[in-house]
Symmetry: C2
Subunit: 507 residues, 2 copies
């Protein structure tokens, strides 16, 4: 029964999720495992949410995680209004609703900053960590689960620790992780000795002070497992433009056919990019990224990727089955690291990653909004996009040119919220085409973005804005009409569309 808990001392702390959840006090700061729906605690947050719902005296906690989790954590706690603060990245509908209703404080932060800001004390003390693991070794070390995230930091920084040992996660993961214990606070930091995505610089286990472990809960459940949908036409076109760009860069001698380590998000466009790389005949590539998704497993199997480094999985049920059936193969070709290492500016710049990220909108000058619809309503968060875009060899932002049946243009006069400034955006791609902004000044950028990326329905409106702005703007370095710059978003909020309604004379 306790084959996953091989340490006798920690085996004595086994209790139910309810008993463990009862150890969390109102107002506490609780750091939880979990990254893109993988490796989050499955039962203690649910038990805590039930306790909150039943409590006569309502109470809330502050929740820190790796990134997005799942309905059993973010969803359950959001539904009972059990969080007063949540950081960083999230993607849960119930949680998002509370945030945008203004009733839950959400701190959106670069994923590479979370661990160090915790160590710096910027979020105050961490009272309890709740961390899912695959198992506990005889000598009390922890086998990490399907995400590593900030778990090293949570286990070290928290006063008390609750472990969830999830027997659903394959035991064969043991040995796949690389937990770097060489971090320090300034002025004691040293170079991080990683020079290739396949370098192992740490240990395959997490360590925890057994004195701090107040509960061990046995669980048996799958990760969130987002369904994998095959790429749509628009995503295929975007991937096609990207691959054409790679060809161009290879011909110019700026890339080799091994490219450089790829960072890529999760979703339809990244899936299309993965498929296109395979079709394009690439071999021996590497990924230095946050998340391993279904498409990457395929690429590893085919040798398109010789290996992938990340901090988490984000697989469909089919992907999990594929992984579990071939865990010995994948364990040699996948490394999961802490997210401070997967997203570390030092390493991303050293490796020269190719950063491929989605966006909500880009403006004429290449400022990118990754987070806020109409400048105010947060979707998910910046995630690691800033870590990679700022420090990578190439920073690419991709989106279909329109959303909501054409009512939203992804290319706008002025971004309604800026997560990546003009200084950090090199390439913008929509299904319409690709704008290479490298070495261009603002007005040159505007021209290429409008011509290459805007949807034809919005192109004349953008051209009109840009021409008038170049004539009438106060300063003409980055021309804008201040009274009109955000009018597209206003119109969307008021009418449901950025399009200008027909103004034909009546009668």
């Amino acid at each position: 029964m306790h084959d996953r808990i091989r340490n006798a001392r920690l085996g004595e702390r086994v209790m139910s999720a309810e008993e463990a959840a009862a150890l969390i006090q109102p107002g506490m700061t609780v750091a939880m495992s979990g990254f893109t729906g993988a490796g989050y605690p499955k039962e203690v947050p649910l038990a805590l949410a039930r306790r909150m719902e039943a409590a006569e005296q309502p109470f809330r906690i502050r929740v820190l995680t790796g990134a997005s989790t799942a309905p059993e954590l973010d969803g359950a706690l959001a539904k009972v209004d059990g969080m007063e603060l949540r950081l960083p990245y999230q993607s849960d509908p119930a949680l998002r609703e509370r945030i945008n209703a203004g009733t839950l404080d959400y701190i959106d932060i670069h994923l590479s900053h979370v661990a160090q800001h915790t160590w710096f004390g910027f979020f105050g003390p961490v009272d309890v960590a709740v961390v899912e693991v695959v198992g506990i070794t005889e000598d009390g070390r922890l086998i990490p689960s399907s995400s590593v995230g900030n778990n090293k930091t949570w286990l070290e920084q928290a006063d008390k620790v609750i472990l969830e040992v999830n027997r659903f996660q394959p035991a064969g993961m043991e040995g796949m992780h690389d937990v770097y214990y060489g971090t320090a606070l300034p002025p004691h930091r040293r170079p991080i000795p990683l020079v290739d995505p396949e370098d192992r610089i740490g240990e395959p286990y997490l360590s925890v002070d057994p004195e701090k472990v107040i509960a061990v809960v046995e669980t048996d459940g799958p990760d969130r497992n987002s369904p994998f949908s095959p790429p749509d036409e628009s995503s295929k076109q975007i991937a096609g433009h990207l691959l054409e760009f790679f060809d161009h860069e290879i011909r110019r001698g700026r890339l080799t056919d091994r490219l450089l380590p790829l960072q890529s998000g999760v979703g339809n466009i990244p899936n299309a990019v993965m498929a296109a790389l395979a079709e394009g005949g690439y071999k021996g590539l590497t990924a230095y990224t946050e998340v391993i998704q279904d498409g990457m497993l395929g690429l590893i199997k085919e040798g398109v990727l010789r290996m992938a480094s990340a901090t988490s999985f984000s697989l469909s049920r089919d992907g999990v089955d594929e992984f579990n059936a071939n865990v010995d193969f994948y364990r040699e070709r996948i490394i999961l690291r802490t997210q401070e290492i997967s997203n570390h500016p030092e390493l991303i710049r050293r490796l020269g990653c190719i950063a491929l990220n989605g966006m909500i909108e880009a403006d004429l000058y290449g400022n990118v909004n990754s987070t806020h619809v109409a400048g105010t309503k947060v979707m998910n968060g910046i995630g690691g996009s800033g870590d990679f875009a700022r420090n990578g060899y190439l920073s690419v932002f991709m989106s279909p040119s329109t959303a909501k049946n054409g009512n939203i243009s992804a290319i706008v006069p002025m971004a309604s919220h800026v997560d990546h400034t003009e200084h950090d955006t090199m390439v913008v791609i929509t299904e319409q085409g690709l704008a290479d902004l490298r070495g261009l000044a603002p007005k040159q950028r505007a021209r290429t973005i409008i011509e290459n990326c805007a949807h034809p329905d919005y192109r004349p409106m953008l051209e009109d804005y840009s021409e008038r702005a170049q004539r009438e703007s106060f300063g003409k370095h980055t021309p804008h009409l201040l009274g009109e710059a955000l009018s597209w978003h206003e119109r969307f909020v008021e009418t449901g569309s950025m399009r200008v309604p027909d103004r034909r004379p009546a009668g």
Copy 2:
């Protein structure tokens, strides 16, 4: 006569500035030395400007530098409309006028990115480098001048090289520089072995292939030498708030009384901060920054700073006299590096710099505009502020709460241009007070910025905006009134003031 040119072969290339300037062809990309008005070529750009002015067929060149230069370079070439492109940071009035008239393309870029983007080929080939040096050794190595900037990259990347040997710069500088030759292109990059601001990891000389040197010009002139003005009352108050914050952080155990390596700009507020550090009894601090200004010389002399690492000087004439008179003392305590090393994300994060930068405006949520007045008119550029703010241990932005006789508020509803996002701003300071944004969600940030930093004249307007935005905003995570968010800037452009004119009933 040629005591500064001790290499016989290069001595044969000595010619006049006019002869050297004649070697630069129309349309060429010319990379010049110079950073914050120090170490720029003094005569060749002037001679080139004269040639441009006299030319029957007008022509222009593309100019890359380290950062801002001086009237003899940026000013002279801008006046004759001799630049079609200029990058990065600038601060010259004539140049700024052309940029904001929309007749000269200016690319504003993180200073840590310039060298690597040149190596990556993003700006195309560099035809000629024009680099000021202090002297040439017997074996042909170059003694760097009062700035290093991108000179290593220019000398290596340019097809042809023109050297200016400036005998006005003190020969005693020899040995003070540290030029790191360990950089490489991905995937061949290795950790940069610097762990303390005082580490020397390179060589005190620049190297150049003598075959490429097509001209050597002897010059004898001072750097731009910005006058040093004593801190005004507002700057002293800002410095006071910062020092109080340091005390607070020391009491909380988040800093020691040695602080962490300081990065600081040039100008009235940084001068006030330097003075306050001395008065505050600090000893044995370090600076890891871009520029050594007058105030730092004083701190080094007093032992407040045990050493300073930078890429450039920016001294007054008095400062130059002080430096020249004590060059042997300062040479042991100042290291000038290439700007890719002074501003390197890897090193700034490792050292945990305290980033102290000015700003034009911050908005309610901590988005910072460092560059554009009213969103469109560029002042100088982002410089290295992004390199330090993103990667430092602390990122602080400072400004008086108003400008232009109170007609501009430095705290606005929405930043009219974003150079540093909400994700990168930790502390905002005006003479009114300090807002510590660490660990705060957007609406909490708004409250502390309005209460602590806004000028009393604008505070009620900001409170009013914020309250209405929290009620009426589309999304309430980062509340905004889109139709009003940029209205303060519009009003400034139209009326010369962000204040709302009196609306008393007439008669």
